[in-house]
Amino acid sequence: MDSFLSAIVSVLFYGVAYGMVLYVISVGLSITMGMMGIANLAHGVFAMCGGYVLVTALAKYQIPFPAALALSFILVALLSVVLDRLLYKHIYAAPELEQVLFSIALIFIAIAIARIAYGTLQQPVMLPEYLKDQFTFLGRDFPTYRVFIILFSSVLIAALWFGIENTKWGAMVRATVDNHAMAQSIGINTKLLFSVTFALGGGLAGMGGALGAEIIAIQPTYPFEQLVFFLIVVSVGGLGSLKGPFLAALLIGVLDTACKYWIPEVGAFFIYVVTIGILLWRPMGLMGKRA
């Protein structure tokens, strides 16, 4: 019984850590897709870039971990501004098929660049000593780094939710998600707002990719392999919603960990079954505003 209990505790623990990473990566996608309705499949590219920034900063330039993490946010946010101004702006109003193909093109290019720069091997993460230990709590050992992931993401998520619920920027974002045309007509500069939000979402994805570099291996095919999971989080959670994807990310994180722990032979089978089931039950996602 006790071994079963401790299995449950560790599945929950690892699952929540994984879910937190998934949420930090995907939340920007949910908001930007909710605002502009672009089918952006290339969101994983930002997460991968964040991961590469972190491992490079740690291994090559010996930058301290907190600074490297911050750097992954800043650089990827800048990258997403550039991509938004250069490329994404052309496809805001394009039909769905073109948006899908455009983002597949970005994925292809990102994979190629990652492969040319880093090779095909997955990148090791040089964590600092103080994050490598075990953390003892209630007579159980937890890896310190996962504890750090959960705590840090919680703070980040709390700040984000506070920002969306209580600031003027947040109110404008919510208004634009609810009704784009109306928000524009009462004088909100939706283009600028979108660019800022897109950069923030990209930056968060970069940071999420960096945070989770030890959980989701950083390698060139990352954007393709993880795409399904990011999209599941957004579509199951509901487009444009903040809390829905959080629920979905935790659900997927725990479910995936549980499946890997108890029934590794079925792989991700149940994740897809649950996804299809939820989307049939609620086509707009758990808390979605629109499909």
Binding site: A39, L97, F102, I109, F224, S235, F269, Y272, R290
Partner: protein
């Protein structure tokens, strides 16, 4: 790209439409070393045609069309390797039936939804099929692929040879049959209705068209065609690998179709031809640059050259005529 092809143009066969078939036969006699690649291209053309029907004409964007291609390929492979059914015609029919059922079943689910949810459902179904193929090792061979596929002679007469002569002609014949059917379909009232649904779903519904019924029929038929293409690839290679199923081949076929030109029959011919020939030359020598090149090309097509290769040809033709 949004031309209402079925509605506006003359549906009679034009001279240029014989060109692909003449070329295909020429390849058979002139380039006997390339028949393996040729058979591959012919099956992908069939696969692209089926995607064109559902995405280009009916306007349903799917990220999971390779679910049908893969299930067709695996059905053919498993029936041959595990149950000893070797007749190629029977195997094609079996794949078609299985994919018809799968297409009907998933169509019921997928077509109820729209936009992101629809994309996600198609993707999740393809991923589910991939996961089954990957994990059900005793039946599918898992990551190592399914070996031991034996294909008997076509109609009891033509054996599959190691030069792929039979495979090439067999693929060509099947492609020809489906090209004819799909061409008829597109110019028929059914095809025009599909184009109407793509252009404006609400309006079609308002004038009394049972939109979902039409889409479901088209989706099921596209699944059948994709399944037959999958079965053909199994018969050509006498092997099934994981690369025929899941998201990546779904994305790839979408890329091929868009390169050729979406929403026009011959886009599905040009796209796989250009893509696979380029891949054959470049991908082995420079895998990184192949991805980069295909990404750039796709970006250019989406941003500047909507309509793909054939769209460019059309523009050149217009420009030429304008000059004279």
């Amino acid at each position: 790209m949004n031309k209402l092809i079925g509605f506006q143009s003359n549906s009679r066969l034009r001279m240029a439409e014989f060109l692909p078939w003449i070329l295909a036969l020429l390849v058979f006699f002139v380039l006997p070393d390339y028949l393996s690649l040729g058979a591959q291209i012919l099956t992908y053309i069939l696969f692209a045609l089926s995607l064109d029907l559902i995405t280009g004409y009916a306007g349903v964007v799917t990220l999971g069309h390779a679910a049908f291609f893969g299930v067709g390929a695996y059905t053919c492979g498993i029936l041959s390797a595990k149950l000893g059914i070797t007749d190629p015609v029977v195997l094609l029919l079996c794949s078609a039936v299985v994919c018809a059922l799968l297409g009907f079943g998933t169509g019921l689910i997928v077509l109820r939804t729209q936009k992101l949810t629809q994309l996600m459902l198609t993707l999740a179904i393809a991923a589910l099929c991939y996961e089954i193929a990957n994990k059900a090792t005793p039946i599918t061979g898992g990551a190592d692929g399914l070996t031991g596929v034996v294909i008997g002679p076509v109609l009891g007469l033509f054996k599959f040879d190691f030069l792929n002569k039979t495979a090439y002609l067999w693929c060509l014949a099947i492609l020809f049959v489906f090209w004819y059917v799909i061409r008829r379909l597109i110019y028929s009232p059914f095809g025009i209705t599909l184009t109407g649904i793509k252009e404006n779903k609400q309006r079609m519904q308002a004038i009394g068209v049972p939109v979902n019924g039409y889409l479901l029929k088209a989706y099921t038929f596209a699944a059948v065609v994709a399944g037959v293409a999958g079965a053909l690839i199994t018969q050509t290679n006498q092997f099934v690998g994981l690369n025929v199923i899941g998201f990546e081949p779904s994305g790839e076929i979408l890329v091929m179709l868009i390169l050729g030109g979406v929403g026009r029959i011959y886009g599905a011919f040009v796209g796989p031809l250009v893509y696979l020939v380029a891949q054959d030359y470049l991908a082995k020598q420079f895998p990184e640059y192949w991805n980069l090149g295909i990404g750039m090309m796709l970006l250019i097509v989406v941003l500047f050259a909507k309509g793909g290769v054939l769209g460019i040809v059309d523009k050149l033709k217009l420009y030429w005529r304008g000059k004279e």
